[in-house]
Amino acid sequence: MAESSQQHIDIHVEFSGGAELLFDKVKEHEVKLSHDNNPWTIRKLLVWIKENLLKERPELFVQEDTVRPGILILVNDADWELVGELEYEIQNKDRIIFISTLHGG
């Protein structure tokens, strides 16, 4: 793809349903991922988020190498299960959303 000539990929990362509380209550993040020879997978993004965006209590966001149960990941408004989950290769301009399921009413 054309991105290989770029220095980085730009993606939109969003947290909702309470997941944003672990990120200083900031819901929307514009993220620049510097390009190296290995593709940016969701697996790799989770590590990056944990090291760069997460403000507190990492165990409430990631467990082992994936998100903790109860968080849904969306890639461009579709369930990540439809695109390969952890192995999905992130493209420039992708919108990745982490939704904590609400329990309340």
């Binding site: 349903g17 409430l60 149960p69 109860g70 579709a78 609400l102 329990h103 309340g104 009413g105």
Partner: protein, 262 residues
Amino acid sequence: DKRKVNELCNKDIRRYSRQLILPEIGVKGQLALINSSVLLVGAGGLGCPSAIYLAAAGVGHIGVVDYDEIELDNLHRQVLHTEERLGKSKCKSVADSIHCADICQRIFSSHKDNVATRYLLNDACVLAGKPLVSASALRFEGQLTVYNHEGGPCYRCLFPRPPPPETVTNCSDGGVLGVVPGIMGNLQALEAIKIITGLKASYVQKLLLYDGLYGSFRSIKLRARKKDCSVCGETPTVTGLIDYESFCGAGPSDKCMLLHIL
């Protein structure tokens, strides 16, 4: 009182005339509503508006399950309950307000953990072959989806493992603006009405995300039913109700979830 109604009486025709003239509803849809049964689990911020609009639309049999008593801090969102009924059963309060069946038994051993309740209801609906219109609301946000209907996923397809108990925020801890569950409860009632009348449900294999602070509605495409799901899959391992409390672990207590079983 479960006899099937085959024709509308004159009073029904007048009462429901404004929705009867909708070609999508018509006499057939109204009869389907009158002959339908909906179980509301939870008579709180979601259950109250759902109950109001399901009853107003003519749903013939509404059951309500709730073990809680009315408290003062419920009233900003649980709009069928009143100050005069403080301390009374929520179930009875709904039943008195909308003339529905009052099924207030404590049917769940784990009634205080809503994650466990969610798995229990999911499994019960899958085993009974019923759709589940599920919604939740917290702070300014709401979520809604229909489980176990027309090839869409069940709750376990999406969440094979329960969330860690410490990650579950409830209304008491997180707060909620009362009209947000009002909006979500109304949307639940509309999904139920569409399913009953044979119209296409809008949120099968879709998750509606509402953020009331920004007025934004977003509809997300979910996975289909999973072949390897432990309850709705091809070789299920969950073939009867299990011990949901030990499956989910002890958790924070809150019971303001609502679900419909049609």
